[in-house]
Symmetry: C2
Subunit: 268 residues, 2 copies
DNA sequence: TCCGTTAGGATTGTCGACAATTTACAGCGT
DNA sequence: ACGCTGTAAATTGTCGACAATCCTAACGGA
């Protein structure tokens, strides 16, 4: 009556484990918890001012998301990304974002383009000021918005982990930037293709965008050639992520596959 | 020395929460825990012969995977899939399996084809004996093997939930089967295309396969038209799956988009 | 008869303590 | 000096109990 009661969402509609899980995700993403870090339960519990119970529940969530690696009677550790993981991340991202773009092309393209344009503007601003960190942030926000605009709950959920891992890659490699302006252009081209409703253009631009990232972050691999650099054979779906599956990320693993052409089908 | 010590994997390399989580997943998948069921902690803890602690940790995993829905101070419930979810599942599956197929085409195709052929043989056997359940099992096993063969950890992990949800859809709709033989043929065509290394054929066959499933399970939708039937707008990536986001799955939602042609690009 | 109130029961959320296992280190023997 | 062994500390895994919250239903009043 007095208050227009906007969106009050009664006190704490969210579970404690959910809150802690989100904070931990952020901490892992922004580098507060570097890869390989062991998460001491007692220490973190004190920091969050909760008991070990809720904290463990939150950590189990991250384990199932693949952000933490569990070693029984040893502890929980932040995953460290080997080169094969970098490649794998982009395989998955490519799949997710392609599907999202496909949905968008068949949806209300204009409003989506407007939202995406906002992120690109932020990127441009960051580029002008020569602020690599801000540029990465805006870049990720672009892709996050792209996926969110698909309206698919599952694509969004699956992408959350991938975007966090992407950020981990970027901060690990300390942004080896070549062609800052170029990146802004690439994103703008995607938006333009969305506005035009040109399906083939959107998909091939996106694929090229991903391929570029792979070339920068995991040279020697390509989304359109060679097998995964990971030396692991076919994986059993029922056990992965459960038993630890430690990957020794000790350097060498270069796949013989030479990078093939940028993208296959011509854009418009 | 005496024993050839095969793969002993010291006692219990897997966490208790992991074991319970897997069992719960199976129970949800095979229908022992129908959609909407509330998971009483005390009851389940007694059944697993553990305390509520490890059980809650296991359940939090499933929450983050999207198989359980959490309502604070109310309990955990098995998700029930509305029509919009069915469509969403196939959007995501289509994305994942396409990426997996792409990896396979660039990898060792023959050995993969052999593995997949085994699943199809099982399908054929089930079809002969007119056993819908066994056919579904074999069908899912095919797709599981397809994704596993990609060698991508992340694709495998993301697909796990999707395949469980797929099984939930099928058992809910009690297998409205038309064209049993046809399905076996479709899978065989995919294998054949993999053997031939015909990328375009593999991708369009797979897309058509998914589109067929959508037509059967969520008529009125198409992977290549109309926006998602879900009435929810763009989703915020940071909150989904955390705050509950209850979807009232009350029937009507038909998208106006008429189904377009099977698949776009011609196959070979 | 209908509605608001209030007790009861049940379930979830949280906590502190104990048990089990691993790791590190000191001591001893060769 | 090197390696093995046994003990001790620290951390994780598990449990039972208490507190907070919600649902149900019986009760009383209009």
């Amino acid at each position: 009556m007095t208050v227009p009661l906007a969106d009050i969402e009664p006190v704490s509609r969210e579970s404690t484990a959910g809150i802690i899980a989100r904070q931990l995700r952020d901490a892992i993403m922004n580098g507060s918890l570097p890869p390989g870090t062991q998460l001491g339960e007692t220490e973190l519990a004190a920091q969050f001012q909760v008991s070990r119970g809720p904290l463990r529940e939150a950590m189990q969530r991250l384990v199932s998301e693949g952000l933490l690696r569990s070693e029984r009677h040893r502890g929980l550790f932040v995953i460290d990304l080997g080169p094969e993981d970098v490649f794998d991340i982009y395989i998955a991202r490519s799949a997710i974002e392609r599907a999202a773009a496909l949905r968008i092309v068949f949806g209300e393209r204009e409003s989506v383009a407007a939202v995406l344009a906002e992120s690109v503007r932020e990127m441009a601003t960051a580029a002008e000021q020569d602020d690599p960190t801000a540029l990465s942030e805006a870049d990720l926000r672009f892709h996050e918005a792209l996926i969110a605009a698909s309206g698919s709950k599952r694509l969004v959920r699956m992408a959350r982990t991938l975007l966090i891992e992407t950020r981990m890659c970027l901060s690990a490699l300390q942004n080896t930037y070549q062609g800052i302006e170029e990146r802004v252009t690439e994103h703008n081209q995607i938006i333009e293709a969305i506005r035009a409703g040109d399906e083939d253009a959107v998909l091939s631009l996106l694929e090229a965008h991903m391929e570029d990232a792979v070339q920068r972050l995991a040279p020697g691999n390509s989304l359109r050639s060679g097998q995964a650099p990971a030396p692991l054979g076919p994986v059993d779906v029922s056990t992965v992520d459960e038993r630890t599956l430690v990957v020794t990320s000790d350097g060498d693993h270069a796949a013989p596959g030479r990078a093939t052409a940028k993208s296959g089908r011509g854009a418009k």
